[in-house]
């Protein structure tokens, strides 16, 4: 799997490169600004780009805009955005296209290398990786919603993990239950939220995210 890294801090860029290489991923380019990222994704055609939100020259949300631009330059390019802090606002902008292959994680997550590499692979495969902090805020925002209150505690747990982008198998492993039990919870959640059930993991995740992020009428 071929990865391009855009990160302006040398230490982090180096650390990411070594960690991903240690897990058998191939680094085809590591750049430190948005312009070079655009060049790298169009020439090297990686399977996934890992991009820091804060990049020169403005050190604001340069990386986010570069990531979105890279997706326009190389349509369907999976992008994993890393940030020192997460905002629902940015998650929404990344998800706005409604297609998969999007990741948005706190930089802290790289400390758990196994989980992090799993997220990179998931995004590269067209899946989604949303930071638990984003998801918990999305859930908190919907806590006043009667529909969400109708879910059982276990179902809410499953909903949260699903929104992070995890597959049924991963959720089963995480909650130490069988995959069948997860499937049962999922079906129940979709029924209660009034969503179209689907066998495709990615599509399910996107439907749940869209539901959580939706502006509902008063």
């Amino acid at each position: 799997m071929r990865v391009v890294i855009a990160e302006d801090l040398f230490l982090l860029r180096d650390g990411l490169t070594r960690m991903l290489e240690a897990h058998g991923l191939e680094i085809t380019g590591s750049v430190d600004n948005g312009t070079d990222l655009l060049k790298a994704v169009t020439t090297a055609r990686p399977d996934v780009a890992v991009v820091d939100v804060r990049l020169p020259p403005t050190f604001t949300d340069e990386g986010l805009r570069a990531a979105l631009a890279a997706r326009r330059a190389a349509p369907g390019l999976p992008v994993l955005v890393l940030s020192q802090y997460v905002e629902q606002l940015y998650a929404r902008e990344l998800l706005a296209e409604g297609s998969g292959g999007i990741g948005y994680l706190l930089k802290d997550r790289v400390l758990d290398s196994a989980q992090f590499v799993d997220a990179v692979r998931r995004v590269a495969a067209g899946g989604t990786a949303m930071d638990p902090e984003v998801i918990s805020r999305l859930l908190a925002r919907n806590s006043g919603d009667g529909t969400l209150a109708a879910l059982s505690p276990r179902e809410r747990e499953v909903l949260g993990l699903m929104a992070e982008g995890r597959s049924n198998a991963a959720i089963a492993q995480r909650l130490v239950i069988t995959e069948r039990a997860v499937a049962k919870h999922t079906a129940s959640i979709f029924l209660k939220l009034g969503l179209q059930p689907s066998d495709d993991d990615n599509r399910r995740v996107l439907a749940v995210l869209a539901y959580l992020a939706a502006e509902r009428p008063d």
Partner: protein, 485 residues
């Protein structure tokens, strides 16, 4: 005169208490000195008007002669007497034109001399008024406000004529000083001369004849020597007694006439600035202390613990790899927690999204994180000054937190717009109302924070709701930066 204070307000020290006679004498002398200042001012005014007056006199004379000449030519006409204008001899036509031209030239010359003298005279009038301010304030005990602004230019490169004139004419102090000089010249002689005049009349007119001076006694019935002496003393005492009061009255009048317009407003403004500044400094210092404490108890402590855990793991790694591994995992978790704490701290200092995107998007992020249904309407075509942005952001953040905590509301609205040089932020909800800035320290804190930017806050929160908080902060809006990406 009461025992405690003199009429000019200074407390009289019992040991060195001047007799009121001496005080009256001093005041009368000072009034006389002020009269001299008055004369100087009047002289300057005259100097200002003299060229114009001279040219006016000359013009009148020229034109009058013209009239006489015309008249004489009319009367000298043989064959009778008619006043019909047609009979004015044709020969006087060009003559009149020449005279009119001469009159015009004289007027122009008068104006030119005045214009040349104007900066000098205006400066002198201002200098005199400035002297009057100081002297009157010192002598009458009435503070006279006003500050002399330095003229344009420097000591080594004085400003040119036009710049000087422009400055003199545009400075409101010039008009004020001119007004003072005119009024003082017209009316100031009454209070300044009255005590000395009374004393002079009493001494010379009444006591003089009694003492044998070669002065004719005043002619009124019963003007015997004792009566004259008593009346003379009475006049002198009246002059002495009235002098301090007249001096004080003169000072009050000068204070009113010479003080800059809007002095009261300025005083109020200075008080407001002093108060908000000290509050802003206090708030800033308190924030610093909070950050220091948070770092000390949070991230720093965690890093120390992490270092110790890593050290322990290093010692165990050969003998007990399993335990070392557990310690390493613990250290990692500790670092994650330290990062989370630092993130929260940074968010409290200056939220990154605010730095990235500005107020509208930062508040949008707040609204998204709000557990209530919250709606944002924002109309900000550019970026606000960073300090205002920050103050407004934290105000909205705190107000939304209040809504969640206290209002029992189901819906909140945030409205942000910039119009007419003012940022207007409104936060309202459909909760139970009853918010009172006097009771809650939160609302008062917001008010204090935006007051540092001359911002104001209005709270409408009747019991039973709804609550609406509106803030207005005057500030400029900078155009959005052109993105480089």
């Amino acid at each position: 005169m009461s025992s405690g204070t003199t009429p000019w307000g200074q407390p009289a020290t019992p040991g060195r208490r001047r007799s009121w006679l001496a005080a009256g004498g001093t005041a009368a002398a000072r009034l006389l000195a002020l009269y001299l200042l008055l004369l100087a001012g009047a002289a300057l005014l005259l100097a200002l008007l003299t060229p114009l007056a001279i040219s006016a006199v000359l013009i009148t004379r020229v034109l009058l002669r013209q009239g006489q000449a015309a008249m004489s030519s009319v009367t000298a006409k043989p064959g009778g007497y008619t006043i019909h204008p047609v009979v004015v001899p044709v020969g006087t036509g060009p003559h009149m034109l020449v005279r009119l031209a001469a009159g015009g030239l004289l007027l122009l010359a008068g104006l030119a001399v005045t214009a040349l003298l104007l900066p000098l005279l205006l400066q002198a009038i201002r200098g005199l008024a400035w002297l009057a301010r100081r002297v009157v304030a010192d002598w009458s005990g009435v503070p006279v406000a006003g500050r002399e602004l330095p003229p344009p230019g420097t000591q080594y490169a004085p400003a040119g004529y036009w710049r000087r004139l422009g400055w003199l004419l545009s400075d409101p102090a010039t008009a004020r000083d001119l007004r003072w000089t005119v009024l003082n010249s017209l009316l100031g002689w009454i209070p300044t001369l009255l005590p000395a005049g009374l004393m002079a009349v009493g001494l010379i007119g009444f006591i003089g004849p009694v003492a044998g001076f070669a002065v004719p006694p005043p002619a009124f019935p019963g003007n015997s020597a004792p009566v004259l002496a008593v009346l003379g003393c009475a006049l002198i005492l009246l002059g002495l007694g009235s002098a301090p009061w007249l001096l004080r009255g003169y000072g009050l009048a000068a204070g009113v006439l010479l003080a800059p317009a809007g002095q009261a407003e300025l005083t109020q403004r200075v008080q407001h600035l002093a108060q908000t500044r000290s509050e802003a400094i206090d708030t800033g210092a308190a924030e610093m202390r909070r950050i220091e404490r948070d770092l000390h108890d949070g991230a720093q402590a965690r890093l120390v613990a992490m270092g110790m855990t890593l050290d322990a793991a290093g010692q165990l790694i050969d003998d007990n790899p399993a335990a070392a591994r557990a310690l390493l995992l613990e250290a990692r978790d500790s670092s994650v927690r330290a990062l989370a704490e630092l993130r929260d701290l940074v968010r409290g200092i200056h939220p990154p999204v605010l730095a990235d995107r500005g107020l509208a998007d930062a508040v949008r992020a707040l609204v998204l994180d709000c557990p209530l249904r919250a709606k944002l309407a924002a109309d900000l075509p550019g970026r606000l000054p960073a300090p205002v942005e920050s103050a407004a952001y934290f105000a909205v953040s705190e107000l939304l937190a209040n809504v969640v905590k206290h209002a029992e509301a189901t819906q909140a609205w945030v409205d942000i717009r910039h119009w007419d040089g003012t940022l207007r932020v409104g936060v309202s909800d459909n909760g139970r109302g009853g918010a009172d800035p006097a009771r809650g320290t939160g609302l008062r804190g917001i008010e204090r924070r935006i007051a540092a930017f001359d911002g104001v806050m209005a709270v409408s929160s009747p019991p039973g709701g709804p609550t609406a908080v509106t803030m207005e902060v005057p500030c400029a809006l900078s155009l959005p930066k052109i993105s480089s990406c």
